[in-house]
Amino acid sequence: AVAGQDGQISADELQRCLTQSGISGSYQPFSLETCRLMISMLDRDMSCTMGFNEFKDLWQVLNGWRTTFASFDRDQSGTIEGHELQQAITSMGYNLSPQTMNCIMKRYSLNGRIHFDEFVSCCVRLRALTDQFRRRDTTRTGNATFQYDDVSVHS
């Protein structure tokens, strides 16, 4: 019903969909910026829109992230602390050094706390960047080469 003729949804349609679905539970609905990020994470054809299958995948993933976040948000404040973000990221299978973790915490925390929308934004980008890196590091050396243009597109 939201998608229209082409069967694709844009960022603001995604935002409407997710808000109406109540997937964020008791947390604030997603910002438009986060929705834009979600679309570009799954956007293979560079159309800046998302189709139904991609939406289904996103749905699953979002549920998982919300559960993870809620498990750390014990006081139900809608935020988690820096070290809890670190634990959440590790629990999702990322094995990152303290420096990288610090960088991520700095980027996503406001007054030392991370809100749900920002948490999701962080997870989306971690996943997208990891995919992009893997695509470049085909021989699994742990290193990959990028040029200036690539890094800006991925940012």
Binding site: S31, E33, C48, L96, S97, Q99, T100, C103, I104, R107, L110, N111, R125, L126, L129, T130, F133, D137, G142, N143, A144, T145, F146, Q147, Y148, D149, V151, S152, V153, H154, S155
Partner: protein, 194 residues
Amino acid sequence: MATEMFEPGPSRLPVPAAFVCEVFKALWHIICVFLPRVDKDRSGVISDSELQQALSNGTWTPFNPVTVRSIISMFDRENKGGVNFNEFAGVWKYITDWQNIFRTYDRDNSGFIDKNELKQALTGFGYRLSDQFYGTLIEKFDRQRKGQVAFDDFIQCCIVLQRLTDVFRRYDTDQDGWIQVSYEQYLSMVFNIV
């Protein structure tokens, strides 16, 4: 494609003596008139949302919140998530500088900067970028979906480009436009840019 990169950005603007008088006048205006209007909850700190409401991007849509965040974090010395009066003076000058730049390059006065005008602007700042890259930039930053960038998106584009250049340069020691990084270096790099 290798690109040569130079030092860009409004921080390089000259500061003539006459400007100091202007700043003084402006600060007085800020204290008496502007600040009370912007700091709606009278907390003494201007938050992201208060600044966002005070700014216009030339359309009826809210000012890009990501740009607001970038600007506030640039001037927020204490990581409090907002700016106090002293810091706000810096914010205001920063935005005024960008307004002047935007007006300079929006040659047809459309209120938007199209691909050609963007090319002029960034070349003026010292960037040497491919034509295709300009298309990518517009695609990435144009939130209005007009194929041109509004004032807030233009600022965000320039901020990100400057960060990208700074960070990339740190890794590109032989300056050939290519870098080789580990997974974690890649993550840190991108999270530092935007």
